[in-house]
Symmetry: C4
Subunit: 231 residues, 4 copies
């Protein structure tokens, strides 16, 4: 994929955010990475989706130096870069303030794995980070947001748990490319909504047993996956 | 109805799922049966609704042998087939992960019969199955999903209770044809939503008395039905 | 207004139900009355809104004798007629199963007057009827639904409280004509939704004081009303 | 900006209310002020958004004398004027009955600052006024509504807290112009919705720490703001 194709894909993925009802105004951003060149394409800061063009996108290297584009990149750019540097398997990253996922983040609660909908995409609960410390907020706030996401994931391969809540902030999600990252952001919002309703029906609702989690996750993502059409 | 007509009807019924807001991405599937030939038409696995064509549908016999179609059928196909084999009165079956019905399934709670809206279609509460055992999940998971639905219905004629929740998974519904099955899926989602709100207004809300259930169900489905226009 | 104009107005009012998101499928009906001739125009039973034409509407006298129209009138017709006979000031009546109002009806709770939104239209709480008895359901069920609404209103002038919940069923509303009746059905659904959220934020939320109720109700409906434009 | 430009901007801002789902029927109004001339442009009372034209808008001086326009101004006009007189920094004001913000007002609860979404716009909780007294309601009700908003804000610079709930009524918001006032009304409704869901997930949810509030608020509105594009 050339850089031009990547830009087009990142633009499309950004425009998918309002199409899926994930954003109010400009409250969301998508990036994608060209792994060979080590270049990240990301949404400009504070530009509305209905006016965004390919030429508005910003291209940066992994240290955050601007390579292309006139506009200021998303203020969350250091978070994206920290994640790309730590997890070379990521191809795209999304941040939104989608309603229900943000509510869970504000409650500082992980979204428990309550059903097969979540198990089809997430190999477990969607974790919630700790709060950032005053020192972490003071200097390089957005970079440290990446740090706490990385700390929250620990040894979990990020493509098996393609999203995390940042406490009192909102959800970040990712995937093998920008399109899949947005797909996972949609899933995260929907499972957040379902889990909220489930817990209001039964505050003691029990998680999906492990054997069902494995079955659902593996039938879609495992070696012998049989969901969808063969590649 | 010829097989071609059935395919067209099943395609339309599948496309009705996003129209009614019942599905995210490809999270739903509809099938229909040609009872004379014993052939089932079902949605292909993982194909998006906006690209689906009649030629993408898969035709199988009741044992699951593919008769027509190039694509892999829905991964839930064995559930559909188990239900058709057990209940010859069914003409169409739907599975979705619609938000509120799935939340009830995740809470492992039957949807109580709280009003006439539900009584117009369901002759009682919408039951929720037990969890599948590890052995049932291990081998023929989707077939066993049919087994627990059948076990949950017991002796109830399925057209009088056209839907069931599968624990920690989501709703299945059915009807005399694919169109009616989708209609009942819409009803199921709406009564799930109303019942959630009702119980949050009064956790002790009492079910509709039997004499009102009978009145509403029979005025629409009974021998002396007077709802709608004469056939 | 001629009968033809009334029919057109009743058709429009029925079509407004799906436009305002008040109905699923055919779960709602609107009627209007020609007071001079004593004729009621009402929606046919079980006909979908997107196919409904003026010629599908049914015209009846106040005793329920069909005067015009080929189709069967709404099964709720006897409720409408009972209300028109009792309250000559009514010009239009609506019944829906709108989500939040129906949830209150299923909880058998009156919607308390919690804010000025409701006070702008309803001079008090939206009451909820008692359950119908087995005898009332057995014979002339729909007529007795009108009876319990009348009983619930008691001496309240119905245009000052233009809606009532029927226990375990759903809302009925009315107005000086069919258009206003639908307007009030929209208000009823919205105040039902707001009141649900309010009570989940504070289960002990207190009603609007009387002096604010009077102010809001009178500034819109009183002798010295100053809301809106002069007639 | 000429008065004609202001009128066009106020019309657009009013039409944005239904576009953003903030209003039912005519339940909302936007005004804007020409500070040099001391003239306020406001929506007419009870006119539906789909028929509103520039010539329907009403122009008043700060004492409420009509300068232009045939129609009666919004019944909430005295509230707008009171706020403009007290806070010369305001350029636009909005009142709506948006669902979730109104529910908080009905619960007489301030919306706590639970996350960065709110901190990006509001420098603290969204306060809720006290109830008006009978005397305040009796004479100049709408003017006194302005009084209690002013009392609730106290010494807070209103552009740093661009909205307030009026007890048992609904939200008012403002900004440097009519467009920004509507923008803040959208934010207020969304944070009201998120906060409701958050508290239902954890009734003891803790507010955002001050150091995070300052960071988010200042990165967008402070002297060294780096969110969005340079002006």
């Amino acid at each position: 994929m050339t850089l031009n194709h990547l830009k087009q894909a990142v633009l499309e993925a950004n425009l998918d955010l309002p199409r899926h009802g994930l954003v109010t105004f400009t409250w969301g951003n998508v990036s994608g990475i060209d792994k060979e060149q080590g270049l990240v394409v990301i949404k400009p800061s504070g530009v509305s989706y209905d006016k965004m063009r390919v030429s508005d996108l910003v291209v940066l290297d992994l240290q955050g130096n601007r390579v292309e584009g006139e506009l200021r990149p998303s203020s969350d750019t250091p978070t994206h870069l920290a994640l790309y540097r730590r997890f070379p398997e990521l191809g795209g990253i999304v941040h939104t303030h989608s309603t229900h996922a943000t509510a869970w983040a504000q409650a500082r609660r992980a979204i428990p794995l309550l059903g097969t909908t979540q198990a089809d995409y997430f190999h477990g609960a969607v974790p919630c980070s700790r709060l950032l410390t005053p020192a972490e907020v003071e200097a390089d706030y957005e970079g440290h947001t990446g740090t706490v996401i990385i700390e929250t994931l620990g040894d979990v391969p990020p493509l098996t748990l393609p999203g995390t809540l940042v406490a009192n902030h909102g959800p970040f999600s990712w995937g093998k490319d920008a399109h899949e990252a947005v797909h996972n952001a949609v899933v995260l919002e929907e499972v957040a909504r379902m889990a909220w309703i489930t817990l209001s029906l039964d505050p003691q609702a029990q998680p999906l047993p492990d054997y069902m989690l494995e079955k659902h996750y593996q039938r879609k993502h495992g070696k012998h996956a049989y969901y969808g059409q063969p590649a």
